[in-house]
Amino acid sequence: MKKGQVTITITIGLMILILTAVIFVQFKTINQTDITSLENMREDELRTEINNYKQKIEEIAKEIEDTDGKIAEYEKVINTDKEASELLVAELEQQNNILGKNDVKGSGVIVTLTDTRAQKISGEDLRALLNELKLAGAEAISINGQRIVYDSYIVDIGSTYISVNGERIVSPYEVKAIGNTTYLESGLSKKQYGYIDTKLEEGKDVVLVRKDNITINKYTADLNFEYAT
């Protein structure tokens, strides 16, 4: 074998070796690129992608801002609504208190009128007492649990019992009144011409008690207008 031929053989073998090695490396790289495509992607491709993502993030941030603004607006509206409704509820409560549709509590006086053998308590006595209490600034009044409201009435039914709000009540008549305790008490117990003195003089049993914590029940019947509008 010639020396030149050996050189040629070795050279060509080496070249083929390099070529196949490179080809296989390339095959392998391309094969595995799918798995780790992101890592091996070209730099500019990655840059473009990053830019795209940045843009998307900016857009989304803008959207979030918009949405936050809307939420703030809605919350404002909700708050005003809430305030308004709270105000309305408070007003309604007050009106119900005035109308007598709620149980109310407060300081006031309890006047107890009891029938004696000599003298019976009449409806007139109770009406006079109510008048006196109202004059003294009573805010809520009840007679034996019957709340006195704007259309309450007190009438004698024969001589046997008294009807308040259509309910019959009997002695002892317990009249509760909430208001300024001092005014109520002094209004009723004026000397000589005061209610209590007058009634005591007539021989009727009248007892007045001051109390800090009186509960007056609500008016239980309906309060509806049928003809007035």
């Binding site: 080496l14 083929i16 196949t20 490179v22 790289t29």
Partner: protein, 132 residues
């Protein structure tokens, strides 16, 4: 002799290629163009062997020179934002087809000459038999 060298080179090259760590995808484009250039040189070498004007120096310089040049051109193309590697691929693959067609023609010619020879031989034999 050379055939054995080629087979051994192929096997060893495959084994080495399988066990070498991956290259980054960024450079695989350059590698691909280098492979195309090298393959072109190989086919050109085969053609020149068939034509009888094979020169080892030309072959080696073409093999490595074309590969390196094509890689450089590709790099330049990336820098200039022009796809120069497309031109390289067109040239190399076109030349590969030309060389392949030359190789094909050479073997077809050889084969058809052989067939014609055999036919004439057969005819000669028939003639001789007929005369007998």
């Amino acid at each position: 002799m050379i055939a054995i060298a080629i087979i051994v080179g192929c096997i060893l090259g495959a084994l080495i290629g399988m066990n070498v760590p991956n290259i980054s995808y960024t450079y695989s484009g350059y590698l691909a163009i280098a492979i195309i250039a090298a393959l072109d040189s190989v086919f050109g070498g085969i053609t020149s062997v068939l034509k009888g004007n094979f020169d080892l120096k030309v072959f080696i310089s073409g093999f490595f020179g074309n590969a390196i040049l094509s890689m450089l051109l590709t790099w330049l193309g990336v820098k200039l934002n022009v796809d120069i590697y497309l031109a390289a691929i067109v040239v190399f693959v076109g030349r590969m087809f030309t060389n392949l067609s030359i190789i094909r023609r050479y073997y077809i010619d050889k084969w058809s000459k052989k067939v014609i020879k055999e036919e004439t031989k057969n005819e000669d034999e028939k003639k001789t038999m007929g005369e007998n």
